[in-house]
């Protein structure tokens, strides 16, 4: 019979560690997604800037939301609606083939530490949303001394 030390927190530790590894790996491109579809996203960088490019053709700029949430994650969300041009006659209208995706979308990404979140810029042209951040030096962990009374 082997004696195993009883550690009530043991199970939780390994689960939390696994979840943290899973969520905090920005480079592997893990992201949280909700909604009807997921627009394709490329993430690129050069020396000074991080770029997040999302393909969302056929959507109006006002229907896209870009934000940084309370946890410091970049969230790109919105709704892609089926629009018709004005000349379409609604009587006898028939959709013959649908390959395009419509509906709500939401994709969130953990941002790496060397990013200045306030430098976020976003532009939307040719159906591509381009979000960019300037890089900054990562903050050195602060050391604080604790007084012993």
């Amino acid at each position: 019979m082997a004696l195993v030390r009883f550690d009530p927190m043991n199970g939780f530790n390994s689960i939390t560690r696994k979840m943290n590894d899973f969520i905090s790996d920005f480079d592997k491109g893990l992201s949280v997604e909700f909604g009807g579809f997921a627009p394709r996203i490329d993430i690129l960088e050069d020396e000074k800037t991080l770029f997040v490019q999302a393909e969302i053709p056929g959507i109006k700029k006002e229907d896209i939301k870009v934000k940084i949430n309370e946890e410091g994650m970049l969230c790109i969300s919105g709704e892609k609606k089926r629009t018709q041009n004005e000349e379409v006659n609604q009587d006898n209208f028939k959709q013959i083939r649908t390959e395009r995706n419509y509906g709500t979308f939401s994709r969130s990404f953990i941002l790496p530490d060397n990013i200045n979140k306030e430098s976020i810029k976003a532009k939307f042209e040719n159906g591509v949303l381009d979000v960019s951040f300037e890089k900054s030096a990562p903050e050195a962990p602060k050391e604080t001394y604790i007084n012993i009374e």
Partner: protein, 144 residues
């Protein structure tokens, strides 16, 4: 023993009719595609026209070519390059790049000369007015 009427044309007729029914229906039909990726396309119609919307985000108008031939094949082709991204390194890649080409067989009740196209916000929109399909001509043959 049963008699079967011989028709030298019969087999060809059936096969050809089935192929053209199959290929010619825009909704279920085959499209011929080649290249690195296939842009998503929606097709709709109303009483007067057919409408096609093709998603081509991140492409310039000069990089797309639309053509239609006498066999009613409409081809949309071009190249999608990552403009401005050459000096950057890629951390995550989901977008498709490269060449694309899709060919659709257009129905008979469409006027090939009047197809119009416009390209905005990454969507190429084609507008194709309908016409009466040309009736097969009948010629009477005189017997001497």
């Amino acid at each position: 023993m049963t008699y079967i009427k011989m028709s030298p044309w019969k087999n060809f007729e059936n096969a050809a009719k089935r192929m053209s029914q199959f290929a010619g229906e825009l909704e279920r039909g085959l499209t011929i595609e080649s290249g690195s990726f296939s842009p998503r396309t929606d097709i709709a119609e109303d009483a007067e026209k057919y409408y096609m919307c093709i998603e081509l985000p991140g492409i310039q108008k000069e990089d797309v070519k639309i053509s239609v031939n006498e066999e009613r094949e409409l081809t949309i082709q071009g190249t999608k390059n990552a403009i401005g991204n050459e000096a950057k390194s890629l951390l995550k890649s989901e977008r498709a790049y490269g060449t694309f080409s899709r060919t659709f067989l257009l129905p008979e009740n469409l006027d090939l000369q009047k197809i119009s196209a416009k390209f905005e916000n990454g969507i190429l929109e084609l507008s194709m007015p309908k016409i009466e399909p040309p009736q097969p001509k009948e010629y009477e043959i005189n017997i001497d």
